[in-house]
């Protein structure tokens, strides 16, 4: 069972570069999320989606964009990378809303902006 798959696992970006973190899930989940986790901190929500074609901002959306053209995929786009975006990024998914539906996380993508 693949679950939630994120790529790449590690990436180093230069300031001003752009990149896309890929996320796909094979559980037919409606809800998908992107979180970032800074060292020694909890997870902060960047964007989320409750279904294909629907996206919403989370707590820290600035500098990021998402799209949800299919149920399976939820890519996160970084435009004009900044050192403040150095973090570990987690994609997650759930069948429905969190109150009663387990959220499954990917393994994480480590991003360094230099």
């Amino acid at each position: 069972n693949a679950g939630v798959t994120q790529t790449p696992k590690f990436r180093i970006l230069k300031i001003g570069q752009s990149m896309t973190l890929q996320c796909t899930q094979d559980m037919n989940h409606n809800y998908m999320y992107w979180y970032r986790q800074d060292p020694g901190m909890g997870l902060k929500l960047i964007y989320y989606s409750v279904g294909a074609g629907i996206t919403d901002k989370g707590e820290v959306p600035n500098g990021y964009n998402v799209s949800r053209s299919t149920t399976e995929d939820f890519p996160l786009r970084l435009e004009l990378a900044a050192p403040s975006q150095t973090s570990v990024y987690f994609c997650a998914s759930s069948y429905g809303d969190p109150s009663g539906n387990t959220i499954y996380f990917g393994e994480g993508s480590w991003l360094t902006v230099v």
């Binding site: 809800y31 909890g42 809303d97 969190p98 109150s99 996380f105 990917g106």
Partner: protein, 112 residues
């Protein structure tokens, strides 16, 4: 804004001891709480959850206690094992909301 926080950033215990990890929340509208375990280099993993209409819920070697009066949540791990070493996060959800709010996490270190 209101958030979920943790009292102890690091907890060191001996193998076989019982561990207690605490979490304070400030949003009285939160009605669903979850504990996650995050091992080094991996994503968070669901451990146990509890709804606000309960005070206690037990799983395998884990128990979650909820005290709504003081807005406090705890995770008890019985007979802690080295494999329990990880960072533990509490998270909260308000019914009808599509997202979770996570606390900062507590690192549990288990010595053999």
């Amino acid at each position: 804004g209101e958030n979920v926080g943790l009292h102890l950033p690091t907890l060191s215990v001996q193998e076989g001891d019982n561990s207690i990890i605490n979490c304070a929340y400030s949003n009285s509208a939160s009605d669903y709480f979850i504990w996650y375990k995050q091992e080094s280099g991996k994503g968070p993993q669901f451990i146990i959850d509890i709804r606000s209409n309960m005070d206690k819920r037990q799983g395998q070697r884990v128990t979650v206690l909820l005290n709504k009066t003081v807005k406090h949540l705890s995770l008890q791990i019985a007979a802690t094992q080295p494999g329990d070493s990880a960072v533990y996060f509490c998270a909260e959800n308000i019914k009808g909301y599509s997202t979770l709010t996570f606390g900062k996490g507590t690192m549990l270190l288990v010595s053999p």
